[in-house]
Amino acid sequence: MTVKEFFKGKAFKCIAALLCVLLISGIFLTIMNSLLAVTDQERFDRAIKKIYGKAVKTEAVAVADYNSNATIEEAYKIKDDGNYLVKATGKGGFDNGTVTCWIVVKVNKGAVGGIEKVVIDSNSGQSYISYINDKFMAGFYGEYTAGQYFNPNEGFIKTGATRSATAICNAVNAALDYVNALFGNVTVDIYENCSYIENIDTRNTSHEATEEQVTFSIKTKSFKRAGEFSINVTVDKNGVITAYAITTDGSTAGYGKNIHPAIKDGTLFVGKNLAGIEAILDDGIVYPGDNAGTEISTGASQSNFLCLSAAAFAAANYEQFLTVEETPDDNEEGGNENE
């Protein structure tokens, strides 16, 4: 085929037609994009309008993270009323997804006064986000007491989207931490320097201690498809777990029954110290590990792993929380030294 024949041929016509359509489409879309592009400022104004129903004057504030369960994306001081508008992305949603929210934190006499409004901005992979309604959001509104944290399992109406609700709660808690920090009230996390905290929601974990034992009320984070567990673990002064009880089963619906019976009733952990728990972790027989599936891989490996993490956390950190009673002897010794 000669060059002349090619240019007169059907193939050339086809290529030319397709290229022309592509070129014209490309030029058209380029022009339209420059005319119709939505700027970041416009998106921000839309968010403001959604929250306040009108335009308000704002002043950007530097962001910082004080809560590992969420990320602060943007923050503004509302000039009209002195409140803070915080955009936070909460972790721990369904399938490890996130929910980004705009949160209006009320300021009252130079301190956090409560939550005024929460509006969802976007989400990643939250199929049931439409179940989150205004009634749920209203659970955040009202007066704030210092140190208050929101938990979707407590005091909120059930939405049918617990995991998405958890991510929203995490975003709101992070916004509270952030604005508290702006006023110099940094919330101290007493478990911050503990070991085995990757899967522990330290802000919602607490403990009661005596000289003889420490009882932890542990709230785990979600792990992949498994949701948060609430587990009570008691560790005696020798570091041995004496009681283990799951109070809230966070496993995805239908998977709870697959948790290994010895984990469910705690017998796998009772009587073991940190070395014993670490041995299970090192074996990788729960999750994750090369030989997962050999012994107690049950079809709820992620839930099993969270339960194991709680046991490891308790066994590894009990010592620093044991109450040490001041004995009269100590004072006498001190007195003698002074003499």
């Binding site: 059907k10 016509k13 086809c14 037609a17 397709l18 359509v21 592509l22 489409s25 058209f28 879309l29 339209m32 994009n33 119709l36 592009a37 939505v38 839309r46």
Partner: protein, 215 residues
């Protein structure tokens, strides 16, 4: 019958893309839990379908047969992208409520189907009427089902709460599937009834004419 009237009636009733041809079921099932979203989707499809029919009809003699489908897809994709930009700029609420289904209009069978079956064989005016009629047929069908699903599934209408009684399942795709099936059955039953009445009337007229001729 006037050809434009026939095109219009075909698009709206006799070849209604949703109830008679069962095309574009993906956005239908995904969006009819909200009357606002379904009407928005219907109107967006109406505009894109009309524009694509007009453009394809204009270019029908210039585009070689062997590359017509890729060309149609590029044209439809361009229009859908334009619609997305337009909605994002001027109707952000609708843009958010349509979500991923907006981009999926590119592969909507109704649009490519009308381009291939009608626009590349007819004049620009006829193609425009066909686009409007089919688009309206799709919009009305989606809106009616959206109203039914939202009313019974959420107890509201276009977002305004009307009653507290609700059948939650109808606000979900499974319920939408049920409503879709019932609507098809009712629509076909009504059309069938009209057709039967028309046939009876025609037969009666023919019989009377025969009797007159015989007399």
């Amino acid at each position: 019958m006037n050809k434009y009237k026939k095109i219009t009636l075909d698009g709206l009733i006799y070849q209604n893309p949703t109830f008679m041809l069962v095309l574009g079921t993906c956005p239908t099932l995904g969006l009819i839990s909200s009357a606002f979203s379904s009407m928005g989707m219907g109107l967006t499809v109406l505009v894109i379908l009309t524009l694509s029919n007009v453009i394809i009809s204009l270019l029908r003699k210039l585009i070689p047969d062997s590359v017509r489908i890729p060309c149609y897809i590029v044209i439809i994709a361009t229009l859908v992208t334009f619609a997305r930009m337009f909605l994002d700029k001027f109707l952000p609420d609708l843009y958010e409520s349509l979500g991923g289904f907006l981009a999926l209009i590119v592969v909507n069978c109704i649009i490519l189907g009308r381009a291939e079956a009608f626009a590349n064989k007819h004049t620009v005016a006829e193609s425009a009427v066909d686009g409007i009629a089919n688009g309206l047929g799709f919009t009305v069908a989606l809106t009616v089902m959206g109203i039914i699903c939202e009313f019974f599934g959420k107890g509201s209408l276009f977002g305004y709460e009307i009653m507290t009684f609700k059948i939650g399942m109808l606000a979900k795709p499974a319920g939408a599937f049920l409503v879709y099936g019932i609507c098809i059955a009712v629509f076909v039953y009504i059309i069938d009834g009209f057709e039967r009445m028309r046939r009876v009337k025609a037969n009666k007229l023919a019989r009377e004419n025969l009797l007159k001729e015989a007399a």
